[in-house]
């Protein structure tokens, strides 16, 4: 049995030897856990985490196994907190631009921004690997160039484990790079990538696609056209202590990642990564995405009360819970399916304090888009197709369920 397992792992294709039982996890499948977060930042809700292995590019020994990396289908690229790497004695070599300056990045996430260098890592997840992967090192220890005035100007810097509720973010969204063409040849470079002198003076600059922070899945040798997120239904309406699921690499590349022949809603996205949604019979087509990096269904409904006290200020606190709602999703482009999703918003003050997973958490009053956050994932597989990659009859970018 041990021999069969080893052969399956080395083979890397998920096919088990004749006569042996199926191997779990298969080399394209890894454990996905919803729990209360890393030891340095417990109390998280609706955060799905993976454990990854990173090494300094080209090194077999300077490696770290990092737990509690947040799975994010709403962004592309791996971002790791510097102090976590430092604690494991891993130093990732910074990427240099054509002038020999370090490349640094400033990315807005909600109420804050990340800042830190782009560096090269060798990444392993399940049986898959990506070499010389450009990642962002979130500079919580201020070891590198200080952020320019424009970074942090949108709120606060959220480089730390506490800021993210995670040791890093694994962006496995619909794009191969985080910025893409808009950062390659703009006449006025976007304030996203910067070249920084040794004196720490940083200037926004363009960056070739191959040098941008990259979705690791897109760099795998195989199983590189997308992912599946599998999380079960929750057991308790007022919250589960933890949830076990799996992250599957590749779409229609192996026996374990087929796209269903029927019953699949496949929603193409626009160049921004959004399909559209109309909420509760409204006429406005809102930009929409399926986003494991958001802890709630986020949309605007001024008729639902917002929590004003307790642990969930700003989220929805419906007067009569659960509050039923629906939205109609429509794909953009050739993958133009339409599908109605019924969902319900719970009263978060009914949630158990020490639980990590809640269905029915809603928020986003005032939003002009629609975010199918983590509650959407409980009980249905979600498929994410990477841009320009084919899987069966479909070509990304798309979300499907």
């Amino acid at each position: 049995m041990a021999g069969g397992m080893l052969a399956a792992c080395i083979g890397g294709n998920g096919v088990t030897a004749t006569g042996s039982k199926p191997v779990t996890p298969t080399p394209n499948t890894m454990k996905l856990t919803v729990d209360t977060g890393p030891s340095a930042a417990t109390g998280q809700i609706n955060h799905a985490y993976v454990t990854i292995k990173v090494c300094a590019a080209g090194s077999q020994t300077q490696c770290a196994t990092i737990d509690h990396v947040l799975l994010d289908t709403g962004s592309s690229g791996l971002r790791l907190v510097r102090s976590v790497l430092t604690a494991a004695a891993v130093t990732l070599a910074p990427e240099l631009d054509a002038r020999g300056q370090t490349v640094e990045e400033c990315v807005t996430f909600g109420g804050g921004q990340t800042w830190g260098p782009v560096a090269l890592a060798d990444l392993s997840m399940a049986g898959e690997s990506a070499q010389k992967l450009p990642v962002q090192v979130m500079d919580d220890t201020a070891a590198g160039a200080p952020p320019p005035a424009s970074c942090g100007a949108n709120g606060t810097l959220i480089n730390s484990v506490a800021g993210f509720g995670a040791n890093g973010v694994l962006g496995v969204g619909v794009f191969a790079q985080d910025c893409g063409a808009a950062c390659v040849s703009a006449s006025t470079p976007l304030p996203l990538y910067y070249g920084c002198t040794s004196a720490g003076v940083c200037t926004a600059e363009n960056l070739a696609l191959a040098d941008q922070v990259t979705n690791p899945v897109a760099m795998f040798a195989a199983d590189n056209n997308g992912i599946i997120v599998n999380l079960p239904n929750l057991q308790n309406a007022n919250g589960d202590i933890s949830v076990q699921g799996e992250l599957v690499f590749g779409l229609a590349t192996q026996t374990d990642n087929a796209l269903p022949a029927s019953g699949l809603t496949l929603l193409g996205t626009d160049a921004n990564g959004d399909f559209t949604a109309t909420y509760n019979g409204g006429t406005t087509a809102l930009p929409a995405l399926i986003d494991s990096g958001s802890d709630s269904y986020d949309f605007n409904d001024s008729t639902i009360a917002t929590c004003s006290t307790g642990a969930y200020v700003g989220y929805y606190c419906p007067a009569v819970a659960p509050k039923s709602a629906f939205a109609v999703n429509s794909g953009v482009g050739v993958n133009n399916a339409t599908n109605t999703v019924d969902f319900a918003i719970a009263d978060p003050n009914s949630f158990v304090a020490n639980a990590a997973a809640f269905a029915g958490l809603g928020g986003g009053g005032g939003a002009t888009n629609f975010v199918w956050g983590m509650p959407f994932f409980y009980g249905r597989p979600v498929y994410v197709g990477i841009e320009q990659r084919a899987a069966g009859p479909y070509t990304g970018p798309y979300f499907a369920y």
Binding site: F109, G110, G314, T368
Partner: protein, 156 residues
């Protein structure tokens, strides 16, 4: 409807933003039309103005796809700003004197995470921001200065 001076200021902004020398450090939300010109320079964008219903919209567009709209009431005061594009424009600049209140309200939110949708509201300031890499959008407004009959949802 609107005072001629506001329109002429905005027209001047369209034609000659690059000629202005004195730029206030921060202005904008709560500021006047001069602050719109300053923003156009800071964001390296062009300004166009359109009439809303009882207010004026000055729109700054950059070649990289960032769009900022500043809403001026009849007194020529910016009572709201909205934005969309591949990056978030500098809110410190757009919110001006209200930025510290925004930071304080942000700090009071205690849920860490990515938070692709964000709302902070005080009696004097509302900020609603959302989106993700490649497509951000949001708005900020001063509830006490919104003209009668204008809904927050109109400020897009």
């Amino acid at each position: 409807m609107l005072s001629g001076s506001i329109k002429s200021l905005l027209l001047a902004a369209c034609l000659g933003a690059g000629l202005l020398a004195a730029v206030p450090a921060y202005a904008n939300l709560g500021g006047d039309a001069d602050s719109v010109r300053a923003d156009a320079m800071e964001f390296v964008g062009t300004v166009a103005s359109v009439d809303g219903s009882g207010y004026l919209i000055a729109q700054i567009s950059t070649d990289s796809g960032v769009r900022v709209r500043e809403y001026l009431n009849r007194d020529g005061i910016v009572f709201a700003v909205s934005w969309s594009g591949p990056v978030v424009p500098e809110l410190q600049r757009l919110l001006g004197v209200h930025f510290p209140a925004y930071l304080a309200a942000l700090a009071a939110l205690d849920r860490p995470g990515l938070h692709r949708t964000l709302r902070v509201a005080t009696p004097d300031l509302v900020v609603e921001a959302g989106g993700h890499l490649r497509a951000y959008q949001g708005r900020a407004y001063l509830p006490n200065l919104i003209p009668a009959g204008v809904a927050a949802a109109d400020l897009r």
